[in-house]
Subunit: 162 residues, 2 copies
Amino acid sequence: MTDDRGPAVQQFYPDDVAHCYGCGRLNPQGLRIETRWDGEETVARFVPRPEHTALPGFVYGGLIASLIDCHAMGTAAAAAERARGRAIGDGPAPRFVTASLRVDYLAPTPHGPELEVRARAVEVGERKVLVRATVAAAGVVTARGEVVAVRMPASMDRAPRP
Amino acid sequence: MTDDRGPAVQQFYPDDVAHCYGCGRLNPQGLRIETRWDGEETVARFVPRPEHTALPGFVYGGLIASLIDCHAMGTAAAAAERARGRAIGDGPAPRFVTASLRVDYLAPTPHGPELEVRARAVEVGERKVLVRATVAAAGVVTARGEVVAVRMPASMDRAPRP
Protein backbone atom coordinates (compact mmCIF):
# COMPACT_ATOMS: atom_id res chain seq x y z
CA MET A 1 0.00 0.00 0.00
CA THR A 2 1.19 3.44 -0.80
CA ASP A 3 0.28 6.49 1.21
CA ASP A 4 0.21 9.28 -1.30
CA ARG A 5 -2.92 11.20 -0.42
CA GLY A 6 -1.21 13.83 1.67
CA PRO A 7 -0.99 17.50 0.71
CA ALA A 8 0.27 18.41 -2.76
CA VAL A 9 3.23 20.76 -3.12
CA GLN A 10 1.37 22.88 -5.63
CA GLN A 11 -1.26 23.80 -3.04
CA PHE A 12 1.48 25.76 -1.28
CA TYR A 13 2.99 27.72 -4.15
CA PRO A 14 2.48 31.42 -3.37
CA ASP A 15 -0.58 32.79 -5.19
CA ASP A 16 1.36 34.99 -7.57
CA VAL A 17 3.36 32.03 -8.92
CA ALA A 18 0.47 29.53 -9.02
CA HIS A 19 -0.68 30.09 -12.62
CA CYS A 20 1.45 27.49 -14.39
CA TYR A 21 -0.44 25.79 -17.24
CA GLY A 22 0.88 22.44 -16.07
CA CYS A 23 0.49 22.67 -12.32
CA GLY A 24 -0.91 26.01 -11.24
CA ARG A 25 -3.97 25.70 -9.03
CA LEU A 26 -5.00 29.19 -10.25
CA ASN A 27 -4.93 28.32 -13.98
CA PRO A 28 -8.48 27.16 -14.77
CA GLN A 29 -7.55 25.87 -18.26
CA GLY A 30 -4.45 24.09 -17.04
CA LEU A 31 -3.60 20.50 -16.24
CA ARG A 32 -3.41 20.98 -12.44
CA ILE A 33 -0.72 18.39 -11.91
CA GLU A 34 -0.29 17.62 -8.20
CA THR A 35 2.85 16.23 -6.56
CA ARG A 36 2.73 14.28 -3.30
CA TRP A 37 5.24 12.33 -1.27
CA ASP A 38 5.03 8.56 -1.31
CA GLY A 39 7.88 7.50 0.95
CA GLU A 40 11.17 8.51 -0.65
CA GLU A 41 9.50 9.07 -3.99
CA THR A 42 6.91 11.52 -5.19
CA VAL A 43 3.88 10.64 -7.24
CA ALA A 44 1.45 12.48 -9.50
CA ARG A 45 -1.54 10.95 -11.25
CA PHE A 46 -3.21 12.23 -14.38
CA VAL A 47 -5.88 11.04 -16.76
CA PRO A 48 -5.18 12.45 -20.24
CA ARG A 49 -8.06 14.34 -21.81
CA PRO A 50 -9.62 12.92 -24.97
CA GLU A 51 -7.76 15.47 -27.11
CA HIS A 52 -4.35 14.51 -25.66
CA THR A 53 -3.62 12.03 -28.41
CA ALA A 54 -0.47 11.48 -30.44
CA LEU A 55 -1.45 8.85 -32.95
CA PRO A 56 -4.95 7.53 -32.26
CA GLY A 57 -4.94 5.35 -29.15
CA PHE A 58 -1.75 6.79 -27.71
CA VAL A 59 -0.92 9.69 -25.42
CA TYR A 60 0.66 12.86 -26.81
CA GLY A 61 4.39 13.00 -26.07
CA GLY A 62 4.27 16.70 -25.28
CA LEU A 63 1.80 15.95 -22.50
CA ILE A 64 4.16 13.33 -21.12
CA ALA A 65 6.97 15.88 -21.20
CA SER A 66 4.70 18.36 -19.41
CA LEU A 67 3.79 15.86 -16.69
CA ILE A 68 7.45 15.06 -16.10
CA ASP A 69 8.40 18.74 -16.13
CA CYS A 70 5.86 20.00 -13.61
CA HIS A 71 6.08 16.95 -11.38
CA ALA A 72 9.87 17.39 -11.32
CA MET A 73 9.50 21.03 -10.24
CA GLY A 74 7.13 19.94 -7.48
CA THR A 75 9.54 17.20 -6.46
CA ALA A 76 12.41 19.68 -6.33
CA ALA A 77 10.37 21.95 -4.08
CA ALA A 78 9.34 19.10 -1.79
CA ALA A 79 12.89 17.74 -1.61
CA ALA A 80 14.38 21.16 -0.89
CA GLU A 81 11.95 21.55 1.97
CA ARG A 82 12.57 18.04 3.31
CA ALA A 83 16.33 18.74 3.23
CA ARG A 84 15.59 21.59 5.67
CA GLY A 85 13.47 19.34 7.86
CA ARG A 86 10.18 20.69 6.60
CA ALA A 87 7.11 18.86 5.29
CA ILE A 88 4.76 19.92 2.50
CA GLY A 89 2.42 22.49 3.99
CA ASP A 90 4.77 23.71 6.72
CA GLY A 91 4.95 26.96 4.78
CA PRO A 92 4.95 28.36 1.25
CA ALA A 93 6.65 25.95 -1.14
CA PRO A 94 9.80 27.21 -2.85
CA ARG A 95 9.39 27.74 -6.59
CA PHE A 96 11.75 26.03 -9.00
CA VAL A 97 11.94 26.42 -12.76
CA THR A 98 13.24 24.06 -15.42
CA ALA A 99 16.80 24.45 -16.65
CA SER A 100 16.77 21.30 -18.77
CA LEU A 101 14.41 18.46 -19.53
CA ARG A 102 15.18 15.14 -21.13
CA VAL A 103 12.53 12.54 -21.92
CA ASP A 104 13.14 9.07 -23.34
CA TYR A 105 10.02 7.54 -24.82
CA LEU A 106 10.46 3.82 -24.21
CA ALA A 107 7.17 2.62 -25.63
CA PRO A 108 3.92 4.13 -26.88
CA THR A 109 1.73 5.19 -23.93
CA PRO A 110 -1.81 3.87 -24.26
CA HIS A 111 -4.52 6.53 -24.08
CA GLY A 112 -7.18 5.67 -21.52
CA PRO A 113 -5.66 4.59 -18.22
CA GLU A 114 -4.62 7.01 -15.51
CA LEU A 115 -0.92 7.78 -15.80
CA GLU A 116 1.32 7.49 -12.77
CA VAL A 117 4.32 9.78 -12.68
CA ARG A 118 6.95 8.90 -10.08
CA ALA A 119 10.06 10.88 -9.28
CA ARG A 120 13.09 11.09 -7.03
CA ALA A 121 15.31 14.02 -6.27
CA VAL A 122 18.73 12.41 -6.74
CA GLU A 123 20.83 15.51 -6.02
CA VAL A 124 19.51 18.28 -3.81
CA GLY A 125 21.57 21.48 -3.76
CA GLU A 126 20.68 24.89 -2.42
CA ARG A 127 20.07 26.28 -5.90
CA LYS A 128 19.76 23.18 -8.11
CA VAL A 129 17.96 19.85 -7.84
CA LEU A 130 18.35 16.90 -10.20
CA VAL A 131 15.17 14.84 -10.58
CA ARG A 132 14.63 11.51 -12.29
CA ALA A 133 11.09 10.44 -13.19
CA THR A 134 9.09 7.70 -14.83
CA VAL A 135 5.66 7.65 -16.41
CA ALA A 136 3.64 4.45 -16.26
CA ALA A 137 0.31 3.40 -17.75
CA ALA A 138 -1.44 0.34 -16.34
CA GLY A 139 1.74 -0.58 -14.47
CA VAL A 140 4.07 -0.39 -17.48
CA VAL A 141 6.75 2.30 -17.58
CA THR A 142 6.56 3.99 -20.98
CA ALA A 143 8.78 7.05 -20.47
CA ARG A 144 11.72 8.17 -18.36
CA GLY A 145 12.75 11.72 -17.62
CA GLU A 146 15.68 13.60 -16.19
CA VAL A 147 15.15 17.20 -15.21
CA VAL A 148 17.39 19.91 -13.80
CA ALA A 149 15.41 22.27 -11.59
CA VAL A 150 16.79 25.60 -10.42
CA ARG A 151 15.43 28.12 -7.96
CA MET A 152 13.27 30.71 -9.65
CA PRO A 153 15.63 33.52 -10.65
CA ALA A 154 14.93 37.04 -9.43
CA SER A 155 14.39 38.06 -13.08
CA MET A 156 11.21 35.97 -13.18
CA ASP A 157 9.87 37.17 -9.88
CA ARG A 158 7.39 39.96 -10.32
CA ALA A 159 6.18 40.25 -6.76
CA PRO A 160 8.00 41.19 -3.60
CA ARG A 161 8.49 38.17 -1.32
CA PRO A 162 7.59 38.55 2.32
CA MET B 1 13.75 37.82 -46.50
CA THR B 2 12.65 34.33 -45.75
CA ASP B 3 10.31 32.32 -47.91
CA ASP B 4 8.50 30.08 -45.50
CA ARG B 5 4.90 30.28 -46.61
CA GLY B 6 4.94 27.09 -48.64
CA PRO B 7 2.93 23.99 -47.75
CA ALA B 8 3.20 22.59 -44.21
CA VAL B 9 4.25 18.98 -43.69
CA GLN B 10 1.33 18.35 -41.37
CA GLN B 11 -1.15 19.06 -44.17
CA PHE B 12 0.10 15.84 -45.78
CA TYR B 13 0.00 13.43 -42.86
CA PRO B 14 -2.47 10.67 -43.73
CA ASP B 15 -5.90 11.35 -42.18
CA ASP B 16 -5.73 8.48 -39.69
CA VAL B 17 -2.50 9.82 -38.14
CA ALA B 18 -3.43 13.51 -38.21
CA HIS B 19 -4.95 13.78 -34.71
CA CYS B 20 -1.85 14.74 -32.74
CA TYR B 21 -2.60 17.28 -30.00
CA GLY B 22 0.45 19.24 -30.99
CA CYS B 23 0.28 19.20 -34.76
CA GLY B 24 -2.72 17.22 -36.02
CA ARG B 25 -4.88 19.17 -38.44
CA LEU B 26 -7.80 16.93 -37.37
CA ASN B 27 -7.50 17.70 -33.63
CA PRO B 28 -9.80 20.69 -33.07
CA GLN B 29 -8.56 21.30 -29.49
CA GLY B 30 -4.91 20.95 -30.43
CA LEU B 31 -2.11 23.39 -31.09
CA ARG B 32 -1.97 22.81 -34.89
CA ILE B 33 1.76 23.38 -35.17
CA GLU B 34 2.81 23.70 -38.82
CA THR B 35 6.29 23.00 -40.20
CA ARG B 36 7.53 24.59 -43.42
CA TRP B 37 10.85 24.70 -45.22
CA ASP B 38 12.81 27.92 -45.12
CA GLY B 39 15.91 27.10 -47.15
CA GLU B 40 17.91 24.45 -45.33
CA GLU B 41 15.98 25.01 -42.13
CA THR B 42 12.38 24.50 -41.17
CA VAL B 43 10.26 26.99 -39.32
CA ALA B 44 7.07 26.94 -37.27
CA ARG B 45 5.39 29.94 -35.70
CA PHE B 46 3.07 29.90 -32.74
CA VAL B 47 1.40 32.47 -30.52
CA PRO B 48 0.93 30.99 -27.02
CA ARG B 49 -2.61 31.11 -25.72
CA PRO B 50 -3.31 33.25 -22.64
CA GLU B 51 -3.39 30.13 -20.44
CA HIS B 52 0.04 28.93 -21.63
CA THR B 53 1.85 30.62 -18.76
CA ALA B 54 4.60 29.33 -16.50
CA LEU B 55 5.14 32.08 -14.02
CA PRO B 56 3.08 35.15 -14.91
CA GLY B 57 4.54 36.87 -17.96
CA PHE B 58 6.44 33.83 -19.21
CA VAL B 59 5.62 30.93 -21.51
CA TYR B 60 4.99 27.46 -20.09
CA GLY B 61 8.02 25.19 -20.56
CA GLY B 62 5.85 22.21 -21.44
CA LEU B 63 4.46 24.17 -24.36
CA ILE B 64 7.99 24.97 -25.53
CA ALA B 65 8.82 21.25 -25.29
CA SER B 66 5.68 20.47 -27.30
CA LEU B 67 6.56 22.99 -30.02
CA ILE B 68 10.05 21.55 -30.34
CA ASP B 69 8.71 17.98 -30.31
CA CYS B 70 6.09 18.35 -33.04
CA HIS B 71 8.17 20.67 -35.19
CA ALA B 72 11.02 18.15 -34.98
CA MET B 73 8.73 15.35 -36.17
CA GLY B 74 7.59 17.51 -39.05
CA THR B 75 11.20 18.38 -39.84
CA ALA B 76 12.15 14.71 -39.82
CA ALA B 77 9.34 13.95 -42.26
CA ALA B 78 10.29 16.82 -44.55
CA ALA B 79 13.98 15.91 -44.45
CA ALA B 80 13.31 12.24 -45.14
CA GLU B 81 11.29 13.23 -48.19
CA ARG B 82 13.89 15.73 -49.38
CA ALA B 83 16.57 13.02 -49.06
CA ARG B 84 14.50 11.05 -51.59
CA GLY B 85 14.21 14.06 -53.88
CA ARG B 86 10.66 14.85 -52.90
CA ALA B 87 9.10 18.12 -51.79
CA ILE B 88 6.38 18.67 -49.19
CA GLY B 89 3.10 17.87 -50.91
CA ASP B 90 4.51 15.45 -53.49
CA GLY B 91 2.68 12.72 -51.61
CA PRO B 92 1.62 11.67 -48.11
CA ALA B 93 4.22 12.73 -45.54
CA PRO B 94 5.94 9.92 -43.63
CA ARG B 95 5.05 9.83 -39.95
CA PHE B 96 7.77 9.93 -37.34
CA VAL B 97 7.45 9.59 -33.57
CA THR B 98 9.68 10.83 -30.78
CA ALA B 99 12.30 8.52 -29.32
CA SER B 100 13.91 11.16 -27.13
CA LEU B 101 13.55 14.85 -26.48
CA ARG B 102 15.96 17.19 -24.76
CA VAL B 103 15.23 20.84 -24.11
CA ASP B 104 17.60 23.37 -22.57
CA TYR B 105 15.84 26.44 -21.29
CA LEU B 106 18.37 29.22 -21.79
CA ALA B 107 16.25 32.11 -20.56
CA PRO B 108 12.65 32.76 -19.58
CA THR B 109 10.46 33.07 -22.70
CA PRO B 110 8.29 36.20 -22.60
CA HIS B 111 4.56 35.56 -23.03
CA GLY B 112 3.05 37.71 -25.76
CA PRO B 113 5.15 37.67 -28.92
CA GLU B 114 4.80 35.02 -31.60
CA LEU B 115 7.39 32.29 -31.06
CA GLU B 116 9.59 31.18 -33.91
CA VAL B 117 10.75 27.57 -33.84
CA ARG B 118 13.57 26.75 -36.22
CA ALA B 119 15.04 23.32 -36.84
CA ARG B 120 17.55 21.39 -38.90
CA ALA B 121 17.76 17.68 -39.55
CA VAL B 122 21.43 17.07 -38.79
CA GLU B 123 21.43 13.31 -39.42
CA VAL B 124 18.91 11.73 -41.79
CA GLY B 125 18.78 7.95 -41.77
CA GLU B 126 16.23 5.62 -43.24
CA ARG B 127 14.68 4.92 -39.86
CA LYS B 128 16.03 7.67 -37.61
CA VAL B 129 16.49 11.42 -37.92
CA LEU B 130 18.32 13.68 -35.47
CA VAL B 131 16.87 17.19 -35.28
CA ARG B 132 18.21 20.30 -33.55
CA ALA B 133 15.86 23.19 -32.87
CA THR B 134 15.69 26.62 -31.32
CA VAL B 135 12.79 28.65 -29.97
CA ALA B 136 12.99 32.43 -30.20
CA ALA B 137 10.75 35.22 -28.93
CA ALA B 138 11.17 38.70 -30.38
CA GLY B 139 14.41 37.59 -32.00
CA VAL B 140 16.01 36.18 -28.85
CA VAL B 141 16.66 32.43 -28.62
CA THR B 142 15.31 31.24 -25.28
CA ALA B 143 15.40 27.44 -25.68
CA ARG B 144 17.31 24.81 -27.61
CA GLY B 145 16.16 21.29 -28.35
CA GLU B 146 17.60 18.05 -29.61
CA VAL B 147 15.18 15.38 -30.71
CA VAL B 148 15.57 11.84 -32.02
CA ALA B 149 12.74 10.99 -34.41
CA VAL B 150 12.06 7.45 -35.56
CA ARG B 151 9.67 6.10 -38.16
CA MET B 152 6.31 5.23 -36.68
CA PRO B 153 6.56 1.61 -35.56
CA ALA B 154 4.05 -0.90 -36.91
CA SER B 155 2.79 -1.35 -33.33
CA MET B 156 1.37 2.19 -33.41
CA ASP B 157 -0.18 1.89 -36.82
CA ARG B 158 -3.82 1.01 -36.60
CA ALA B 159 -4.74 1.40 -40.24
CA PRO B 160 -3.60 -0.48 -43.32
CA ARG B 161 -1.33 1.69 -45.50
CA PRO B 162 -2.09 1.85 -49.20
